[in-house]
Amino acid sequence: MAAHTGGLTATVPETGTAAVRISGLVRAFGERRVLDGLDLSLRAGEFVAMLGRSGSGKSTLLRALAGLDHDAGGEGELSAPDHVSVVFQDARLLPWKRVLANVTLGLSGADAQERARTALAEVGLAGREDAWPVELSGGEQQRVSLARSLVREPQLLLADEPFGALDALTRARMHTLLARLYERHRPAVLLVTHDVDEAIALADRVVVLDGGHIAADLPVDLAAPRRPGTPEYAVLRERLLVRLGVEVPSG
């Protein structure tokens, strides 16, 4: 169980059912209630994308799940699995460690090196183990960060706009990679993003965060290659955009 403080009751999730269960979560910074009675559950192995405007509390929720919100006042119930990995928007590699050492950071066991090598190969970076992080491109750094998260075999993967700083082409490639890694490892995923298309492309379910609680919760039941342009895609996209307060031109 990740250590959660601040008036939270931490409960062990029932196996096989929910990976994450949040009810009535409140997070306040001074007077401002950033999360206000939030309820959300993720099944084990479920891929949920979370959309929301800037300041809607996406990052606060993610930090609460990652156990990083030491200084926030709050209440409510939150249960998260033992093994949680976080992918940050910046790759957050330690510049003084080579790529392999960045992936093995915090791992123990004789096979740590081997597992890290496998993870790096999985993200297409075999052979770059001895590179310094500054020698990698932005996309490669984020792939190392993905490898570092996945080598821990997380039950829950939290991703905070992980591709937000990448160019469009690299981002598209990263989507494919993330989808493949998800198929193989099957963690529950909570992907925070501001990109509606990214959410639809990757997730089983899209939730919209607004005013500190879940304002919309829509399943993505589109046929396998989710191509923009199909009527179903357009309808879902429009509904999400409306929920986000974006005016969609009619017609």
Binding site: A66, G67, L68, V84, S85, V86, F88, D90, R92, L94, P95, W96, K97, R98, L105, G106, W132, P133, V134, R148, R152
Partner: protein, 297 residues
């Protein structure tokens, strides 16, 4: 100018704008390569000049030699470079230079070693715990505002005029920069790395070993460069205080007899020792911080 007929006539006609036009006319036949060269100009310092660091010192030496050769510099004020070289040769031949340099180097290095060890320990205690910071930071900051050399009278009363007083003075001088820079580096570790360590579930020892200490290493090495300089500086001063051996003693004796050549030899030795030790620290820095890419590389 005459070769570019049209432009140069224009230039002479309109006198006010002449320089610009003339330059334009000169640029014209050079073609595009020169312009492209200008456009490619980088904001960094540019390519390194071979032996670029030697330019300034060599120039100084040339001026000194010229001054001595022409008699502009009185040898009673400053001996000629060649006199200094022969004097150095004599001092080496009778072994005086080596023994004095050895004494001085041992003093400076032991003072530096004690100072670095103490500064590092204090910085770690102050940088890694709030209580330690409360206990240590204040006194060190107070010490920092008192020049080490002003403590010499007190240190003489406490430790006498022997070796221990000299080594302690040097150590106090070296301690401060090590403490300041290491402590600062420890305190300014990027909070994003702290978050990372928490999400990776690093234990406290591992967090210190993999994140805090490597993160503070650049600061420590910067402090080290200042400390090395500080220890040579303190050495030069303490050797004026009742020393019976060392470069400072040798120079003090030379002053009594008005031997500027020996004084210069002493200064050159101090300079070389300082340069050599700074070079060593920089070498260590380059090896230890090879993960960094800076403008200087």
């Amino acid at each position: 100018m005459n070769t570019h007929t049209t432009e140069s006539t224009n230039a002479t006609d309109t006198t006010g704008r002449r320089p610009a036009l003339v330059r334009a006319a000169k640029d014209a036949p050079v073609s595009r390569t020169a312009r492209r060269g200008l456009a490619r100009r980088r904001l960094g310092p540019g390519l390194p000049i071979p032996y670029g660091r030697a330019i300034g010192p060599v120039l100084l030496l040339a001026i000194w030699s010229a001054g001595s050769a022409t008699g502009l510099i009185d040898p009673r004020n400053l001996s000629a470079p060649w006199t200094v070289v022969t004097t150095a040769g004599d001092l080496i031949a009778d072994g005086r230079l080596q023994s004095n340099v050895w004494t001085s180097a041992v003093r400076a290095l032991s003072g530096l070693a004690y100072g670095v060890a103490a500064g590092l320990v204090l910085a770690l205690i102050a940088g890694l715990s709030r209580l330690g910071e409360g206990l240590i930071d204040g006194p060190v900051q107070i010490k920092r505002s008192i020049p080490s050399l002003a403590l010499i009278p007190l240190l003489i009363l406490w430790f006498g005029i022997g070796e221990s007083m000299k080594v302690i003075t040097i150590a106090l001088g070296a301690l401060v920069p090590i403490y300041i820079h290491t402590h600062n580096a420890l305190r300014t570790i990027d909070s994003r790395y702290v978050e990372l360590a928490e999400t990776l579930g690093l234990s406290r020892p591992r967090f210190l070993l993999h994140i805090v200490l490597p993160g503070a290493l650049p600061g420590f090495l910067l402090g080290m460069r200042f400390a090395v300089t500080a220890s040579w500086l303190a050495l030069a001063v303490v050797e004026q205080v009742n020393a019976t051996s060392g470069i400072g003693y040798m120079m003090g004796l030379a002053r009594t007899y008005g031997q500027t050549d020996i004084i210069i030899v002493g200064l050159v030795v101090y300079g070389l020792l300082g340069l050599l030790s700074d070079g060593l620290v920089r070498l260590v820095e380059r090896k230890a911080l090879s993960w960094r890419r800076t403008l200087a590389d």
